[in-house]
Symmetry: C2
Subunit: 274 residues, 2 copies
Amino acid sequence: LAFTVMIVGSSGCGKSTFVNTLCESPVILRKDHADAEKAALQKTVSITPTTVEMDEDGLKLSLTVVDTPGFGDNINNEPAFEDILGYIEHQYEEILSQESRIKRNPRFQDNRIHVLLYFIQPSGHSLREMDIEFMRQLGPRVNVIPVIAKADSMTPQELNAFKKRVMEDISHYKIPIYDFPYDEDEDDEETIEENNELRALLPFSVIGSEDEVVLNGRRVRCRQYPWGVVEVDNSKHCDFSKLRYMLLSSHLHDLKDITHDVLYETWRTEKLSK
Amino acid sequence: LAFTVMIVGSSGCGKSTFVNTLCESPVILRKDHADAEKAALQKTVSITPTTVEMDEDGLKLSLTVVDTPGFGDNINNEPAFEDILGYIEHQYEEILSQESRIKRNPRFQDNRIHVLLYFIQPSGHSLREMDIEFMRQLGPRVNVIPVIAKADSMTPQELNAFKKRVMEDISHYKIPIYDFPYDEDEDDEETIEENNELRALLPFSVIGSEDEVVLNGRRVRCRQYPWGVVEVDNSKHCDFSKLRYMLLSSHLHDLKDITHDVLYETWRTEKLSK
Ligand SMILES: Nc1nc2c(ncn2[C@@H]2O[C@H](COP(=O)(O)OP(=O)(O)O)[C@@H](O)[C@H]2O)c(=O)[nH]1
Ligand SMILES: Nc1nc2c(ncn2[C@@H]2O[C@H](COP(=O)(O)OP(=O)(O)O)[C@@H](O)[C@H]2O)c(=O)[nH]1
């Protein structure tokens, strides 16, 4: 079973930590704190896929995570949008050319992005122009799921108010995101209920940590502050465990199906009609 | 006694809250969560001075705070730099024309910025291209003091490592900041010691809150999380109280003197030599 997740967000919003927390192992190494001016001179997003073999409840999963360091760090961020959109569409080009070959390439690998997690900075206000523009441009090409980064920097009231405002922006600006769609006729009561609950959590609040500590006799992934301990897997602290479950278990197939049957097909029709 | 502070940083990094915490009253009202696209269409920073009459240990202080909402929010942030630098230099123009008048304007007001607090996002990495460029351009015109915003989103280890890297960047990129200079011959041991201690804290970590709660019998300004309570005035939690003391008590006069005797004079010489 193969699944590809792309992670996008400003530098320092916790993407590498999130990936390592998701995979439960140090997949992305702590970066050498890159020279800001050298990085800025590059003016591109370095798009780097890493594949991890995982075991999800006995199910073997080959998870590819595509990190996008450099997004949003420059004074002018227009080029970064194009790099990421270009990467996603390039995978569709590859599928199209494989489809069209008389003699298929037996070693062909499907590198399409099944879901893009977009990390929103916990500003407490609403979406920035950059967030709106990016999700609007990418939404038609890939399943976008907005996520609130470093959710431990917001109090429960701030988090609820922020989630509400972000969803109002998403609706107001008609930003296409993956919002747990279900089929009234096909899906059972339980599936519809589950989808409604997950949709109500959007955007998912995440907290990441590679540090494990023994707390009250159990091993806990957490961030230790002088004023208290934040637990990654505690659903009273953030939505990390629910997000992980839907990505790697309950909604993995739906995300792949939509990518293949809807998003790729839409791109292909537009491409061939030009 | 009059003193003017300018606050610069990305939207949502806690500037308004910081100002209200500093002035101990709701000076800047919680903004109507501005339409991101309307704000982006403006493409300018709206520079808004507010004056508060304060009492600092019996000393009457007229504190003017200049907020700069809109900085850093757009996809292209070049115009924002110019707005802020332009505002600062405009105050110098006013001083110069007042100086040059044969008949002085008796109602003239000195609106020069005595210190600019630059809010750095708590990314945990190092300075962004934008931070370096901004402080480098503004440093020669105004006393710049870098501050780490929302310091409660970093653990003590992350904070210390980040402070160290930011100061390394500041030194590496030769960014001029106000770093508590002293005069070997003029200043006494105690002053030199105090300046060394303050310099060692740079960049100051700040946490802001308008919420007061009674904790263990005393009134405390804090942020309440499910996992604990962060105290604004607790120096184990952040440097807010030290920053406030140096701004409004110990270093107020030095900041004004440097603005008048050094920064303004440098600008004036360059201006008149053109
Ligand atoms: N407050 C908070 N800090 C985090 C969280 N996750 C990571 N960090 C810290 O944020 C900094 C940047 O994290 P990193 O994963 O390297 O960010 P990236 O640049 O987006 O990949 C590091 O100091 C992390 O320890 C989180 O959930 N909450
Ligand atoms: N974690 C944290 N959040 C803060 C802090 N100060 C303010 N906030 C929250 O951050 C959000 C934005 O604050 P605001 O002062 O309006 O930011 P501004 O846009 O820079 O003026 C609000 O939800 C505040 O409650 C702080 O020190 N730490």
